[in-house]
């Protein structure tokens, strides 16, 4: 295999990160504000009635879910916008004529999107310390889940950006698919709180496995075994990579 074009990967990664830092306050302000609102509404108002879930105070219980909600949204929107914008502005030609292959382009765009999502998730975690006492049982596993999730959904966003032909298409998937999956994936409750039938349905939702694993790294509680969660994320990443490779190999929506 030919050696990878590392300066090329860095150029794309750096270029994407610069855009993020150019608008750093907008990038951070909106997730932080919405997190604060979630804490106020779910934590204070509803949490006052729920008290605790399986021994964890409700305010703390929703922290992993909130982080996951943000990571998923940010990863998908950053990665999809990142690759869609050059398609829209016409500068995509540069990536197609330069000596960068699908691995370099993916690493550059997806790496940057995942990095941004992780950064924002950590800012949210820091924000949550102002509202609730959160103790992280397995910090390294927490980071590992955060990384894998950010990676997996940045890959998904990247595919979305490659597929999209308009800004409307770019927005419809996060709105219609990602947000419902997160809400139904147990971000704000444990699947075990659902009636048995709905618990079964919930387990068809891939996001449930992510949130469950992530929550386990915080509190040692999980809806599904941690190994299953890890396996699900790994499969998801492999499928996304295969699709991206196929897109670049065939030139679908890229080359004529």
């Amino acid at each position: 295999m030919t050696l990878l074009n590392w300066p090329g990967i860095w150029a794309i990664f750096h270029h994407e990160m610069m855009r993020f830092f150019r608008t750093i306050w907008q990038s951070l302000a909106s997730p932080v504000v919405s997190t604060v609102l979630y804490f106020v509404v779910f934590g204070a108002a509803i949490g006052g009635r729920i008290q605790s879930v399986e021994g964890v105070p409700y305010g703390a219980f929703i922290v992993p879910g909130l982080m996951m909600l943000t990571v998923l949204q940010q990863a998908v929107s950053n990665a999809s916008f990142g690759i869609y914008f050059p398609k829209f502005s016409g500068t995509i030609y540069e990536y197609l004529v330069s000596p960068v292959g699908w691995i370099e382009v993916t690493l550059g765009f997806v790496g940057a999107a995942a990095a941004k999502a992780i950064l924002i998730a950590l800012v949210i975690l820091a924000t949550s310390f102002f509202f609730v006492g959160v103790h992280i049982l397995h910090p390294l596993w927490m980071l590992a889940f955060l990384f894998l999730t950010a990676l997996g959904f940045s890959l998904l966003g990247f595919i979305l950006g490659l597929w999209a032909k308009s800004f409307e298409q770019l927005q419809i998937v996060p709105m219609m698919v990602i947000t419902p999956l997160v809400f139904l994936g147990g971000a704000f409750y444990s699947a075990s709180m659902l009636p048995p039938f709905w618990e079964g349905v919930a387990k068809l939702n891939p996001v449930l496995y992510l949130i469950s694993g992530f929550r386990w790294s915080f509190f040692g509680l999980a809806d599904v075994p941690v190994g299953v969660s890890l396996f699900a994320v790994a499969i998801f990443i492999v499928i996304c990579l295969a699709i991206i490779r196929w897109i670049f190999a065939t030139g679908w929506r890229l080359r004529e």
């Binding site: 074009n5 080359r255 004529e256």
Partner: protein, 310 residues
């Protein structure tokens, strides 16, 4: 001798069935400037797009300095720079960063001194910190050239570099190309301005309906086709060309009131002054004189028509 670019039986048929390119074969030498002429939709852009990697060919091969564009694409692409037809730039990026980004994409390490040199040579240095969206059309096009040169390519493709560009800017673009030629860059440009091909190219290729009708040295084409005709209208009709003037290739119109003289514009002496002097000596009064040039344009039109008839 093998050229820097070797194209063999290159074909492209789109899924719709349209044949954009059929069996194009040509060899491009290092350091020359080739102008590809042809009407819109002739296949010029398709040809360039295949060599650069934007379009996947359905048949044939292209080698750039010995590297196959399909199997050894990384090495091939490193040698090529492309200036696309449409202006496409990231609007909020500064000129300098935009060029530096492209250099990175080509796997080259940071070299701000070289980028400065490129920007200065394209009169963009003063605009290095400007966002590309704030530049004029001509400047944007020069930024695209700067980006294409960011990795010191050996071959530069310019796809319609002066389409929709005013006359001043066109001259400016020609100067840039002239400068690149002096630096030894091989340049392939497409155009439908014949003037442009006449001005810059060493060789001219004519493409029509996906076929390369010819590729020949421009001077040769101009010599062969680029002759001028001088028409001299006479006050009084002659019966025949005076014997003193025989053997000069003069032709007398059937009515006897017009003499036509074909001459080579590239020759040192056209012989016009001498001819007019001799006519005066012979007492033949000239009423009017006009000249007409068969330009590359006519060459081109006749070739394309022949191509269509075939």
């Amino acid at each position: 001798m093998t050229g820097i670019i070797e194209i063999d039986n290159l074909s492209k048929q789109y899924d719709s069935g349209t044949k954009a390119l059929s069996d194009v074969t040509m060899s491009i030498e290092e350091g020359e400037i080739i102008a590809l002429l042809g009407p819109n939709g002739a296949g010029k852009t398709t040809l360039i797009s295949i060599i650069c990697g934007l379009v996947v060919p359905t048949g044939g091969t292209v080698r750039v300095d010995g590297h196959d564009i399909r199997t050894d694409w990384r090495a091939a692409r490193k040698l090529i720079g492309l200036v696309p037809q449409e202006i496409a730039l990231e609007p909020f990026e500064t000129v300098f960063n935009s060029v530096r980004f492209t250099r990175g994409l080509y796997g080259e390490g940071r070299d701000d001194a070289y980028i400065e040199q490129v920007l200065r040579s394209l009169a963009l240095w003063d605009k290095r910190d400007a966002a590309t969206k704030d530049l004029s059309g001509g400047m944007k096009r020069r930024v695209l050239i700067a980006k294409a040169l960011a990795h010191r390519p050996k071959v530069l493709f310019l796809d319609e570099p002066t389409a929709g560009v005013d006359v001043t800017l066109r001259r400016e673009m020609w100067q840039v190309v002239g400068q690149l030629r002096r630096e030894g860059v091989t340049i392939i440009l497409t155009t439908h301005y014949l003037e442009e091909a006449e001005e810059m190219a060493d060789r001219v290729g004519v493409i029509s309906k996906g076929q390369l009708l010819l590729i020949r040295p421009k001077d040769e084409l101009m010599r062969e086709f680029g002759r001028k005709t001088l028409t001299i209208e006479l006050d009084e009709a002659l019966h025949a060309i005076p014997s003193e003037l025989l053997g000069r290739g003069l032709e007398l119109a059937p009515e006897g009131d017009r003499i036509t003289y074909n001459y080579d514009t590239t020759a040192e002496r056209t012989g016009i002054a001498r001819l007019l002097g001799e006519l005066a000596t012979l007492g033949i009064t000239v009423r009017d004189v006009s000249t007409r040039q068969s330009s590359l344009e006519e060459v081109f039109i006749s070739l394309v028509q022949e191509g269509e008839a075939a």
